[in-house]
Amino acid sequence: MSTILQQAAPMATATRGAIRIEDVVKIYDPEGAAVMAVDHCSLDIKAGEICMIVGPSGCGKTTLLNAIAGFHDITSGRILLDGELLCGDEKPKAEPGSDRIVVFQNGALFPWKTNLDNVAFGPIMQGRLKPAEAREKALSMMADAGLSGVESNYPGEISSGMRRRVEIVRALMNEPKVLLLDEPYRALDSLTKSVMHEALLEIYYKNKVTIFFITHDLEEAIFLGHKVAIMTTRPCKPKKILEVDIPHPRDYSVLTSRRFRELIEETNEAVHEEALKAFAAGEKEG
């Protein structure tokens, strides 16, 4: 995994996948008791940027992700992808599409399909590739991501770290503009997590896409992100936006660098404040 720097392969550059979130409000109204999940949230994500969304559990980060993915509607405001309206006042819910692929918190690989068939699923569904071609491409993508040997296994037969990687490769097979990651490494132990971080960066350097990454792990956020948006606890909006000036490509030596520590110090207080607020409000985990 430490081959990233030595190879110095030309990094792909992304020209698409800029997300613009303008004044988005989301009010849940389950039984008359209106709950504001997102409060006038604005955020600009450049094409090919890794944007990390940090906030306490249950603060409304996932609501934002669901709005971009088109799984839920928004109450007001609008979201644009490359200048085109995804959802806005006249169209509160975006259409789900293969330009925005979600990697779910608990994983959503189809348990009844082999890993290879999972990875090949998207292009076949979109009719872009014939099944045989899709499988061939899936094979080479999986080999690139260090997943050779698990193609014919079912997702239930491999480790959870492997599953996350298969799922990210499955997402990339759709050639998305944006990858939406919802705390994908939450359930992993810290050692697996560190391996997964470098693997994600390696995949990212090869296929530049915009990454919208939700986490509540500040170190993970600063290590991976170009930009870190620290969100307030419910209702959710950016409290502090940090541009991480550590150059990419990065590897794990970054974690011990002075700049990394400085950035942690700069942001730790803001995160801690929100965590305390969330704790006091008695928000449930999740």
């Binding site: 993915a69 088109g70 799984f71 789900p96 599409g97 293969s98 925005r100 692929i101 979600v102 779910f104 608990n106 959503a108 189809f110 348990p111 009844w112 399909k113 699923f121 998207g122 569904m125 979109q126 009719g127 079912y154 997702p155 239930g156 037969e157 759709n174």
Partner: protein, 291 residues
């Protein structure tokens, strides 16, 4: 890895054989109580039983039942009889007929209830009112409204499996995680794709469970239906009536050994069908045989 030496017969199989042998031995011993209970050595046991109000010269419950050795002899007598095998054939064809009809109607019906709110709203209340009616309560009505007795037995058998299959399909399809639908939708799946590639495979484990349970019920139902309806036998005798009628006929004819032969035959038949379904279920859901 250290190679594990596999013995020809595993511990589990040994235990199984031991348990069956022990059961047969106790049964044989109990059935022969009329021979040994009268001996002087067992006078104490007779007194004990007399104190409990049992005056007969054999053990309660087990005493009047024919011993396994006698059953085996009776089995030897009927095993060459075409009528006995015809009973097997009759019961099996009724079970398979009813069961397959239940699958063909039950699986699509269950899926329809699961995917369509309208269908659920219209279909489910009626289904839930009919479901608690035991299949055997349908026997008289079934005889009235089906033209042949054969059809009425198959219908009752069908009912036995139908409800279980439908309930399992509805439950299975509804418990498929929302994330799978969202992921499939994002990747450009049409409604038909989602049905075929998410709902169908996602429901398959529940279909397998539902059919295994349903198969068990069909055997319970077919035997009782055969007894009540006289087995649909036009020929008379033991032929043509199915295993349920075979038992009933043996009872009427006073051949107690044959009753037990019939009972064990049903046990074996049920075991064969369940095992067949289990194998089929495993084969169709390979992702569940993990690790």
């Amino acid at each position: 890895m250290i190679p594990v030496r596999k013995s020809l017969i595993s511990t589990a199989v040994c235990r199984g054989i031991f348990s069956i042998l022990l059961f047969l031995l106790l049964w044989e011993f109990g059935s022969r109580s009329r021979h040994w209970l009268v001996l002087d050595e067992f006078e104490w046991l007779r007194h004990l039983l007399a104190m409990a109000g049992w005056e007969k010269k054999y053990l309660p419950w087990i005493g009047p039942i024919p011993a396994p050795s006698e059953v085996l002899k009776a089995w030897g007598g009927v095993i060459g009889d075409i009528g006995y095998w015809h009973s097997w054939y009759k019961s099996f064809s009724r079970v398979i007929g009813g069961f397959i009809a239940a699958m063909i109607i039950g699986i699509p019906f269950g899926l329809l209830l699961a995917v369509s709110r309208t269908a659920f709203g219209i279909g489910f209340p009626v289904f839930e009112v009919l479901r608690p009616i035991p299949p055997l309560a349908w026997v008289p009505a079934s005889i009235i409204f089906w033209p042949t007795q054969e059809m009425s037995i198959v219908f009752v058998t069908f009912l036995g499996a139908f409800y279980t299959i439908v309930i399992n399909v509805v439950g299975g399809a509804r418990s498929i995680d929302l994330r799978y639908f969202q992921a499939a939708q994002s990747m450009g799946s049409s409604s038909w794709d989602i049905f075929r590639r998410i709902i169908l495979p996602g429901t398959l484990p529940s279909i397998a469970v539902g059919s295994a349970v349903g198969m068990g019920i069909t055997w319970e139902v077919v035997v009782a239906a055969e007894m009540i309806s006289g087995g649909g036998s036009q020929v008379g005798g033991t032929s043509g009536g199915g295993l349920g009628f075979f038992i009933w006929n043996s009872y009427v004819g006073g051949s107690y050994e044959q009753i037990v032969v019939g009972m064990i035959s049903i046990g074996i038949a049920g075991f064969i069908s369940s095992e067949l379904l289990r194998t089929l279920g495993k084969y169709s859901t390979p992702w569940l045989r993990l690790r």
